[in-house]
Symmetry: none
C-alpha cells in the first residue's frame, strides 16, 4: 500500500489544527463526556452521500444528537436476512436495537445524481447502469418500483417525483424490518420523511394521509 | 403507513426555520449555485454513523466539499460484483467514476460501538452477533481479518488496535476495486487513513511506510 | 477566571441566532412590551431541575406567563426566617408579595433522580448522601417525613409514592409561610399539586379531599 | 389542606390536553426513552425565575438537553457546607457529580426585579428588604459585593451593570465549590456567563479576558 496511501493534503491538516485549537478546545468537556459516557442520539438520519446536504447544518445538530447513515439516494433495501453484508440494514439494526433511537428520519433532496441515474436507467438511457457489474445501477434497482409510480407524470416533474419516491419507498421498506415495525407499533419510535430543495433551502415533509410532500 | 409516519418534532421544525432565516439566507447564492451547477466535491469520506464524529465539523467543511458515505465502523467490503445491492461499493463507484474525487479518506474513531461488537463477537462473547440473521454481526464479519491481526495484543490495547485495523482493512479493500486502483495508480486519486480520538480531539494518520498511526 | 470561563459552544450560538431571526423577530412587540411594562405572571410554578420536564411545554406557556422556580425534587422547605440565604423561600416571597400571583403550582414527576436518592438515603443505601457535607443529601432531608409515610408500601410503588409526597409536603410547607396562608385564606391565591408521568405524558393532580393523585 | 389546594384552572387543563394530543403524541417515543433511559443533559443552566426569560426557547432546546435551576436573580452562593438546606448548591452538586454536565451556563437578564431590589436595598431605599425576616432581602445579600463594584457608575448604567455582576459573582462563587473547580481544571466542564436583553432579544456574553460583556 506504500505507494497508494498518502498523507492528508495540507489544507485539511491546517483546518484540523484550527478546529482543534478552537472548536475542540472550547468544547473539550463535551467531547470527553461523549467519549466516556457513550452516545445517546435521539434520532437516526438516513441521508444521501451528496456533498450539498448536511443534515447537521440544517438542524443545528451538535456532536451526539444524530446517528447518521449516508448512502446513494438515501435508500433502504427491503428486509432480507440472507447472511450477506448489508450496510444499511446493519446501521438500522444498530440504531433501533442498540441505541433505541426515538426517530428515524429519511432525508431526500433535489438535484440528486443517484435518482437522476435511476431515472435514466429505467428510461433506457443509461445502459452502463444496467450492467450487472455496476454497483450504482444495482443499488438503484431498489428504486425501480418508484419509477413505475412516476413514469406517467410530465417529464419536467418526473425526477423530482422520483426523488420523493426514494423517501417513500425507504419508509415503506423500513416497515418490512420486524424490529422497526415492532418499535413503531409499540410507540417507541416514529418515522419521518423529508425532501430538501437545495437551491431554495426548503424542507418538504411527507404527509402520510394525503401521500404528498408539503413545505414545513 | 398513516399510523407509522409522523410530522417532525417541533424542536427540529423550529431549528430548521432558524437555519433558513440565518445560514441559508446568508448563503443563498452558494446554495443556488450548488443546485444549478451540481456538486464538485474534492474528496469522498467514508466514516462511521456514530453521532459523535462529524467530519464536516473537524475539517470545517461547507456544503459542496465532501461526498460522505457513513456506515457502521467505516468499513469497505472487498470488490464483489455479484449483482447484489452493495451500498458502500455503489457510493465508492459513484465518487470515483462520476464525481472523480481527488481523495478517498477513511475515518475511524475511538469508542466505536461497532468495532467493540466485532471484538466481542470474535472473542466468543456476543453470540447474538454470530447469528446469521444479525445484520450487524454479518456486516462486522468484514472486520474479522482485523481481529486475527490484533488478538495477541494486550487486552487494554486490543479494541483501539481493531478500530485502526478497520481503517487499514478498508484501505486494503478499496484497492481491490479495479477503478480505485486504476485511479490511484494513474495519479488521479489518493487514499488516506485517519483515526479520531473523540475525547482528546486528536486525528491520527496511517503511515503506510511504518504501518502505524501517527498523530497529525 | 480567565482560564475557567469560556465562550458559548457554537451550536448554541447558531441556534440563538436562528431564534433571534425567527421567534424573536416575529414577537418583537411582545418582548418590547414585556421589557417596558414588566412581568405580570398569572402563576408561580415550583418544578424540578430535571431536563425532561419543562412546564412551559406542557402548558404551552409563552414568555410572561409563569414565574418558575426550579430546584432538586421541587421541594419547599418549611418557613424559617433565620436570616440565612433561602433561595426557594425568597422566590415564593417575591412571587406572592411582589408579583401577587394567583396560583402556586407544585409540579413533581416520575423517574426523579433526587427522590430516588432520598429513598436510597433513608433506606440506608446511600451513605454518601448522609454525609453532612453532601448538599444533595442535606437538601433531600426535607423529604424525610415523606419517606416515613411511604416506607410500608410495596417496594414497587414506594418511589412513585415518594415523588408524590414531595409534592404534598411542599404544599404543606407552603402553608407554613404566613403570607402564603394569608393570601390563600383571603381567596387571593390557590395552591395546586401535580405529578407528571414523563413516559406517558400524563398529569396527575392532588385531590385534597381524597388525598390521592388522580389523572387530569 | 382541603380548603387550600384546588383543581387546576381549566385554561391550563385545556392546554395540557391539547399538548398531550399533539406534542406529546408526536414525540411519545422520545418521552418514553427519556423515562426509560434517564436524562443525559449536556449543560446545566442557572437562570432567573423571571417569567420573561425561558432558556429553552432562546436555544431551541428540547426535553433532555438542559438541567435548569432557576432562582431569584440567577445567584450562586459561595461554597458553605454547613449542613443547612442549600437548594442552589444541591442542584450544582447533582449536575456536576451525578449528571457530569459539560457546561454550566449562568444566564442573567435585563429588567431583573431581584437585581433592582438589591440595588434599592443597598442604596438605602428598600428598608423592607433589609429586615432580617425578608427572604428576598437575605437572598439578595449575596449580590452586595456586586453593588460595591458598580455603585460609582452613572445612575442610568448602574442597574444593568449590577445585573451583569450577578452573573460574574455567580461564576466566581461557582469556582469556590471544590468539585466545580476540580471539574473545570481537569477540562471536564466549562463555565459560561450570559446576559439577555429582553426587549432587544440580544444575548451578551462575559469575556473573562476583558471582563466585559459583548454581544454574541
Amino acid at each position: 500500500m506504500k505507494e497508494h496511501v498518502r498523507p492528508l493534503p495540507s489544507y485539511l491538516t491546517n483546518r484540523y489544527h484550527g478546529w482543534r485549537a478552537t472548536t475542540y478546545t472550547e468544547n473539550r468537556p463535551w467531547y470527553r463526556r461523549l467519549a466516556d459516557a457513550g452516545q445517546h442520539p435521539r434520532a437516526m438520519v438516513i441521508s444521501c452521500c451528496d456533498s450539498r446536504v448536511h443534515v447537521t447544518s440544517i438542524f443545528g445538530a451538535d456532536e451526539g444528537e444524530f446517528f447518521i447513515h449516508r448512502n446513494i439516494a438515501n435508500l433502504v433495501p427491503p428486509y432480507n436476512p440472507d447472511g450477506d453484508h448489508h450496510g444499511t440494514s446493519a446501521a438500522i439494526e444498530y440504531a433501533v436495537r442498540n441505541l433505541k433511537v426515538a426517530h428515524v428520519i429519511v432525508l431526500g433532496h433535489s438535484q440528486c445524481g443517484g435518482v437522476a441515474g435511476c431515472h435514466a436507467m429505467c428510461s433506457g438511457h443509461a445502459p452502463e447502469l444496467d450492467e450487472k457489474t455496476s454497483f450504482v445501477g444495482t443499488w438503484l434497482d431498489l428504486l425501480r418500483p418508484g419509477f413505475e409510480r412516476v413514469k406517467d407524470k410530465p417529464e419536467t416533474e418526473r425526477v423530482t417525483a422520483l426523488e420523493r419516491e426514494a423517501v417513500v419507498i425507504s419508509l415503506e421498506n423500513l416497515l418490512t424490518f420486524p424490529f422497526v415495525r415492532a418499535a413503531v407499533e409499540a410507540g417507541d419510535m416514529s418515522l419521518h420523511g423529508l425532501w430538501n430543495d437545495i437551491g431554495e433551502g426548503m424542507l418538504w415533509q411527507f404527509n402520510p394521509e394525503s401521500k404528498i410532500f408539503e413545505p414545513i
